[in-house]
């Protein structure tokens, strides 16, 4: 059993209402535990509560009910101070959706250094970490560039470098690929996967792209503020009906296999690679229906 680094216990968040708008429970009684070094995708449509959940986990919002445990420490307890939260943010970072609105400095390397500077790390150490972080995300060439001239994918990589320079162990990506073109999306996804696999960083990725979710070890599906499904991509996508019901898609390979299975072919559903899918279909057709 691996170490649990982040845990939500009966987490609830209610947006306060006023005269015109009733209070809305964006997250309701959500519980899960995240293992160290794991890669979890949180999937849901707009308004499913997934972004609120991200903000809760990053302690931008304080839960109205339930708890968040970071390395076993209750971050939602009464006696948690502003300073404790700052301390916790050394462990957990967030990369946001809009690449432009999270870059502070006018030079790439200065931006990567921003977080470390806030932590009061000595200059020489910051220099070393910034160089290393830029290397990990493959942006060393652009160290002295102005961020506004970079592509969306590059800007997101700069933002990622900023969090890893702070030596954070957990990174939450809040729809960080949503505003990018396919190339930028691939750049960012490749970077996320590398961070997770090679550097052992725990990743939580909020997304509504099925293909991206399929790359995770685990998918938590959110709907109406609650967990609709939770399992490996294979498990979650092999039960497509509930996903379809709430307006989510499954990968096209799964959709085709699902239709064939319904016709009586003996095929698995948890296949996301077109080549493997083709092989399975070819074999199934040979064997015929059962």
């Amino acid at each position: 059993m691996k170490n649990i680094v982040l845990e939500a216990k009966n987490l609830t968040y209610e947006y306060p209402g006023d005269e015109d708008t009733p209070a809305v429970k964006a997250v309701q009684d959500v519980s899960f535990a995240i293992e160290e070094g794991s890669f979890t995708a949180i999937l849901g449509h707009n308004g499913s509560g997934k972004s609120t959940l991200a903000k809760l986990l990053c302690m931008i919002y304080a839960p109205t009910g339930g708890q968040i445990l970071l390395n076993g420490k209750n971050m939602s307890a009464e006696d948690v101070t502003e300073a404790d939260i700052m301390e916790a943010r050394r462990e957990i970072g967030m990369v946001f959706q809009n690449p432009d609105n999270q870059i502070v400095a006018t030079v790439v390397e200065e931006d990567v250094a921003f977080g470390c500077e806030n932590l009061g790390i000595p200059p020489a150490e910051i220099r070393r970490r910034v160089d290393e972080a830029l290397d990990i995300v493959g942006m060393t060439r652009y160290a002295r560039h102005a961020p506004h001239k970079l592509s969306g994918g590059q800007k997101q990589r700069v933002a990622i470098a900023g969090t890893i320079a702070m030596k954070r162990k957990i990174i939450i990506f809040d729809e960080s690929t949503a505003m990018l073109d396919p190339l930028g999306r691939k750049e960012v996804m490749d970077t996320i996967l590398r961070l997770n696999r090679e550097d052992g960083i725990t990743v939580l990725m909020i997304t509504h792209y099925m293909n991206e979710a399929a790359m995770a070890d685990r998918i938590i599906v959110m709907n109406k503020g609650q967990i609709l499904d939770d399992g490996t991509p294979g498990e979650v996508f092999s039960r497509p009906e509930p996903l379809w019901k709430v307006g989510l898609d499954v990968p096209q390979t799964t959709e085709l296999l699902y239709k064939l299975k319904k016709d009586g072919y003996d095929v698995p559903l948890d296949v996301f690679d077109p080549e493997i899918c083709a092989k399975i279909i070819a074999r199934a057709l040979e064997r015929g229906r059962s």
């Binding site: 943010r89 050394r90 999270q102 030079v107 470390c116 200059p123």
Partner: protein
Amino acid sequence: MKSDIAFGQYCEGDSLLHRLDPRAKIILAVLYIVVIFLAKSAASFGLLLLFSAALVGVSGISPRIVLGSMKALTFIIIFTAVINIFWMQGEVLLFALGPVKVYLEGIINAVLIVLRIMLLLVCTSMLLTYTTTPIALTDGIEQLLAPLNKLHVPVHEFAMMMSIALRFIPTLIEETEKIMNAQKARGADFSEGSLLQRAKALIPILVPLFVSAFRRADELATAMECRCYTGGAGRTRMNVLRYDWKDFAAIGVVVLLGAAVVVLNILVPGIGLAM
């Protein structure tokens, strides 16, 4: 490429001037301005002209760019010259047009004052805007003013505001263009009609621009908080500004220059400024 305007003043380079510490450059600029005002005689102005030419030479920036930047000041230069020529009273009357009398002293004064304006411009642009990035300037000002922190002047916060503004100018220019295009596509017309109509035509641009700027500010604040930003206290910097011998040497040179100007004023008075 319009979004480059904000940084248009800075000329990329690796000259001695580029490499000086921004704080030293600000001090140098102030000192040099004092020296320029000390100059009274033609001889001392001659010395300063030579020195300024040397500055341009060292910076590696084309003299044409420097002269080009003076175009913006043409009006002020001509205005000052005219005022001096016609208002200045002296002893050697050159000619008179009715009540207006032009004296030789007036002409000399005009020439020297124009020279002074041009020297000021060259000095500030060479030392500051052309060879220092806006961000380095901001850093320099922040650190020079750091002692004011003790008087509870939020120096760091001002500097942070400045640098965020610099960071977002290109983004907002780009956004303005996008919004303008979008409204043009809906038939907006910014070039015709009365002043009032044209002002009204700007509303569909300004409202979305403000809304977006506030949204950006909000998101940026959250992002900064997530990156553990809590203001200036306890912060370190990756690039620490350090004076080295170059900076001290440069300041020494300008101090010597000031002394030379004073000496020249006394030893070679000749023709000079009357004021």
